[in-house]
């Protein structure tokens, strides 16, 4: 783990605060116009996708409808929902963009997400045992967890998680691993399960019952199209998220390391525990700007479209303190994620023999 002196940490904190304050002071029309333009794009794609879907018996129309609806779900989840719920647009004072009341187009309820993601994941980023997003209690991604034979099949778990990502994310707060270990009781999660069922039911009803039935003669086509759109969204969002913290160089931390942490140490942990990937403007937008995961983790409540603008400055700060700024191409970063999942599915002895550098 990268360590800095007390003075360096203080000055790191000041440098990053300065960037944040400057952006905050500059928030205004430009940011409001941006997010409203994105919301308009989402509505256009969503309405367009739903309208085209019943004509999906014409193959090119089916492709266009699935792409349109899939993109709309991606944009709503990544660039609108995720970012609005972080409070990035609370300053606009628009009730429709309020972090505490926004509800997004996915199975996970906004409230559950605000607890598990905004609070747990963003506060305890990559702290093993505290950040439940690290491997989702489903994957072994470092050697802090003892290898068990079941881990050898974890690549299958990964495929299942990524295909059914919205259902997995929705169930995240159940903490099934802790229930299995007897740390908590299922009955404590009754309220959560009720809300999960309600929101999951709502999402399933919409895409798999209501819209297919509405267009009964072509119901199978609409059903298939809606499943495909959800699948595209699941694959993309899980891939983006995995690239944010599970790449080769993304560091992990122990609870002891983070006790009585200062804000400077918290910044350092966010910088070294996150990873970016490069891409076009459109790819950045589709990722909800989580392609700038580092900037997002340092400034989770700044409007995300600002991340590419401040990235050079964050990179310069990293350079100043000798902190590794973890970035690379999308394919390159995703490759290291897949490698990590595969490597840690092996017993430590075998892993170290095959790739000694992971020691």
């Amino acid at each position: 783990m990268k360590t800095l002196t007390h003075e360096q940490l203080n000055s790191l904190e000041q440098d990053l605060n300065a960037i944040r304050d400057e952006v905050r002071a500059d928030l205004g029309d430009r940011d409001a116009r941006y997010i409203r333009r994105i919301i308009r794009l989402h509505r256009t794609l969503a309405v367009g996708g739903r309208l085209m879907m019943p004509l999906g018996f014409i193959p090119p129309v089916f492709t266009a409808a699935v792409a349109s609806l899939g993109l709309s779900k991606i944009i709503e989840n990544m660039e609108i929902g995720h970012n609005v719920m972080h409070g990035q647009y609370d300053w606009m004072n628009d009730p429709a963009l309020h972090s505490q009341t926004y509800e997004w187009d996915t199975v996970c309820t906004g409230d559950s997400w605000r607890r598990t993601h905004n609070y747990e994941h963003h506060t305890y980023t990559n702290v093993i045992g505290k950040d439940r997003d690290y491997g989702y209690a489903l994957l072994r991604l470092n050697d802090d967890h003892k290898w068990r034979p079941a881990h050898s099949l974890q690549f299958i778990n990964y495929i299942l998680l990524t295909v059914f990502f919205q259902w997995g994310v929705g169930l995240h707060e159940l903490e099934f691993d802790r229930i299995r270990r007897g740390e908590i009781r299922l009955s404590e999660k009754k309220q959560f399960l009720k809300e999960y069922a309600r929101k999951g039911g709502r999402q399933g009803f919409k895409d798999y019952v209501f819209f297919p039935l509405l267009t009964l003669p072509v119901a199978p086509i609409v059903l298939a199209g809606n499943i495909s759109a959800n699948l595209i969204r699941n694959l993309w969002s899980s891939t983006v998220i995995f690239c944010g913290h599970f790449t080769e160089d993304a560091e992990t931390f122990t609870e002891a390391e983070c006790e009585n942490e200062s804000k400077g140490q918290w910044y350092l942990r966010q910088l070294t525990g996150s990873s970016n990937f490069t891409g076009s403007k459109f790819v950045h937008m589709l990722s909800g700007h989580l392609s700038h995961q580092i900037e997002h983790h340092v400034f989770p409540d700044l409007p995300a479209h600002r991340y590419p603008e401040i990235a050079p400055r964050v990179q310069a700060v990293c350079k100043k303190y000798g902190i590794h700024y973890n970035t690379g191409s999308f394919a390159g970063q995703y490759g290291t994620v897949l490698k990590r999942i595969a490597q840690y599915s092996l017993p430590d002895k075998l892993r170290l023999k095959l790739s000694p550098q992971t020691a």
Binding site: L27, I39, R40, N93, E103, N118, D301
Partner: protein
């Protein structure tokens, strides 16, 4: 058609399922506002039809609210919503037109004076023009015209004339016969708002006695006094309506009560003037947690989350360091200082993070 998504219960339920929001009809706003801004459902939009100069620093904005707006009674206020620099502001103004005008042609008027240092009023003067869209809330307020024929006294100061204008026009239109006197205080003759309307009213409506007093003019500047009230015939028998700066309203109420007028027959309506920002030392203040009905006093730079917890409240929160926004909630009034940036909030309704907000004077929070 979209109103069905709001009013029809099964359709509203369906809309909630499909669009994940309590106001499903507003899902289409971003598309509809491009076609016709008056089709927006999130708030009731109003089209600015014209802007008229009243005085050097006062303008009347004539608005046409969307059809679903429910109307108002003379003397009531509305909350006006508008976006400035990407931020939505809501401010309360009195309607200066009579309900009869709205019934006849669907328009209402706001008469607004520039407040020195006021963000919203200055912005409206400088930027709102014919064709602009403003949000308009439902009318509220119990500053209402008398129900029966009885003598009336209006005391208005400055832009406090606006709800009075609405009432006078309403009374005139109803051929009100009991005597009505208006004492209207302005700084100079040039500050008279709606001078033509007032003159025209007094000419065609014999019941009205108009007395406009310019306080900063003449050799002997005149203010509200016993002598002035003595000139109003049978003042003790009148129902009184007061609207103006706090100083004027306080004196008026005192003088009227001295003359034995029952408090129940004195109607006041305030319009707030924003206070200047306090200096950095003046932190802390009376904190009102409105939903829990708890009032406490805070000292120094304690943040609202700590203050709430000290008062045995358990507001939702997370990181306690301004990161996760779990504790974001509505501040309904008062000023808070952001502990991270040192910046003070505005005095009105706002979303704040409890864990980094320090009260600066009295604050009311919706928890």
């Amino acid at each position: 058609m979209l109103s069905l998504l709001e009013k029809n219960t099964p359709l509203r339920w369906l809309g909630k399922q499909l669009f994940n929001r309590d106001d499903p009809a507003a899902f289409f706003d971003p598309l509809l506002e491009r076609i016709n801004p008056l089709w927006v459902r999130q708030y009731v939009p109003a089209l600015v039809e014209s802007v008229v100069d009243e005085t050097a620093d006062t303008k009347t904005f004539v608005l046409r609210p969307a059809d679903r707006w429910a109307g108002f009674e003379a003397g009531q206020h509305v909350s006006i919503g508008l976006d400035i620099g990407g931020v939505r502001y809501n401010r309360t103004f009195s309607l200066s037109s009579a309900p009869g005008q709205w019934a006849a042609d669907g328009s209402v008027s706001l008469t607004i004076k520039r407040l020195s240092g006021g963000l919203v009023t200055n912005w409206m003067h400088d930027n709102v023009s014919t064709g602009s869209i403003l949000g308009i809330g439902e009318a509220f307020g119990d500053f209402r015209v008398p129900e029966t024929q009885e003598p009336v006294l209006y005391i208005a100061g400055g832009s406090g004339i606006t709800p009075v204008l609405s009432q006078l026009q309403t009374l005139a239109a109803s051929h009100y016969r009991a005597p009505v006197t208006l004492l209207y205080f302005v700084r100079t003759q040039a500050d008279i708002i709606a001078a033509e309307t007032l003159t025209a009213l007094s000419q065609r409506w014999p019941a009205l006695t108009l007395n406009i007093i310019a306080t900063d003019e003449g050799e002997h500047p005149e203010h509200l006094s016993t002598t002035l009230l003595d000139r109003v015939p049978d003042v003790a028998a009148r129902r009184c309506y007061l609207c103006g700066p706090k100083g004027l309203m306080d004196i008026a109420e005192e003088l009227l009560v001295q003359r034995g007028i029952d408090q129940a027959r004195i109607h006041s309506t305030f319009f707030a003037v924003p206070k200047a920002a306090l200096d950095g030392d003046a932190l802390g203040g009376a904190v009102h947690f409105s939903r829990s009905k708890i009032q406490v006093t805070s000292k120094g730079d304690a943040v609202l989350l700590d203050i709430a917890e000290a008062a045995s409240l358990t507001p939702r929160h997370g990181c306690r360091m301004g990161v996760c926004h779990q504790c974001s909630c509505r501040k309904t009034s008062g000023t808070v200082v952001n502990r991270l940036t040192g910046k003070a909030s505005g005095p009105g309704e706002d979303t704040i993070q409890l864990c980094i907000s320090v009260p600066q004077g009295p604050v009311s929070v919706d928890i």
